[in-house]
Symmetry: C2
Subunit: 130 residues, 2 copies
DNA sequence: CATTGCACTAACAAAAAGTTAGTGCCAACA
DNA sequence: TGTTGGCACTAACTTTTTGTTAGTGCAATG
């Protein structure tokens, strides 16, 4: 996925997720981190509040959700909007980049959900062999 | 991502990555685990031997690569072919399911690689604000 | 002889995730 | 009145996962 520089006046920046130091590697690690995919996918239907998102994603803790949203916000994938109220009122939504990423993640999720019978069968074969 | 059962004679199995116990959640965790995405993407161009794949993915250890390939093989995403030789000769390639998954991952990777300037800018803004 | 390549695994250390408790305000309920 | 729940986080500590290092036995090379 490395892009080659143009020989023209505006050279493209080379980005390559396979390279450890590349920013695209870091963003990949944020998006595919422990709760990244489900968090981005959970924002797919529009702005949502913190605890609603948490209830949407079975198994995530407040701590891990907060941490994940922070990292996604820092990378420009998620936008956080807070009101000066008590109790707090915070909404999260996807940026334009976040929407592009979410499209790809939904595609992946659909493939995985459709593949459950194949996977279950494969796991049984693998476990029976070892 | 939950699919509703048909009312017809062949009901669909409900799969939902947002549910902790669902097999699709487990596969998602395998594919998007620490080295899962890069491993599947590294297999995209066809069968490859262990150390060639390791050299392809900057930063992965033999241990983590072996562990990742094992998990992917168990889920039916990767096929491992070993010859009875010394030194060992082992090749890995994607299954049909693995190919479908790789297509989606390549799409994600392309979005992320193209987004490096936006991300860099967003990170600087975020860090300057805090 | 030592080194390299092959594809892993065992033992231990470091890093990340998970669990629990806490913050202060308001509203609802017993 | 006191208690509970809701809100959106964070601190302190525990558990799990990842990373580092050493090891396996054979053949080829310098």
């Amino acid at each position: 996925m490395a892009t080659q520089p143009d020989t023209g006046p505006s050279a493209e920046i080379i980005a390559d997720v396979f390279q450890r130091g590349c920013t695209s590697r870091q963003v990949l690690e944020t998006v595919t981190g422990r709760w990244g995919v489900l968090t981005v996918a959970g924002l797919r239907d529009g702005a949502i509040r913190f605890n609603a998102l948490r209830r949407r994603i079975d198994g995530v803790s407040e701590k891990m959700l907060a941490q994940t949203l922070q990292a996604l916000e820092r990378d420009g994938i998620v936008i956080r909007e807070a009101r000066a109220t008590l109790p707090p009122h915070v909404e999260y939504r996807l940026s334009e980049l976040g929407e592009r990423i979410a499209d790809r993640l939904i595609g992946l999720i659909e493939v995985l959900e459709d593949s459950v019978p194949e996977v279950t069968s494969a796991q049984q074969n693998y476990d029976a062999r070892d």
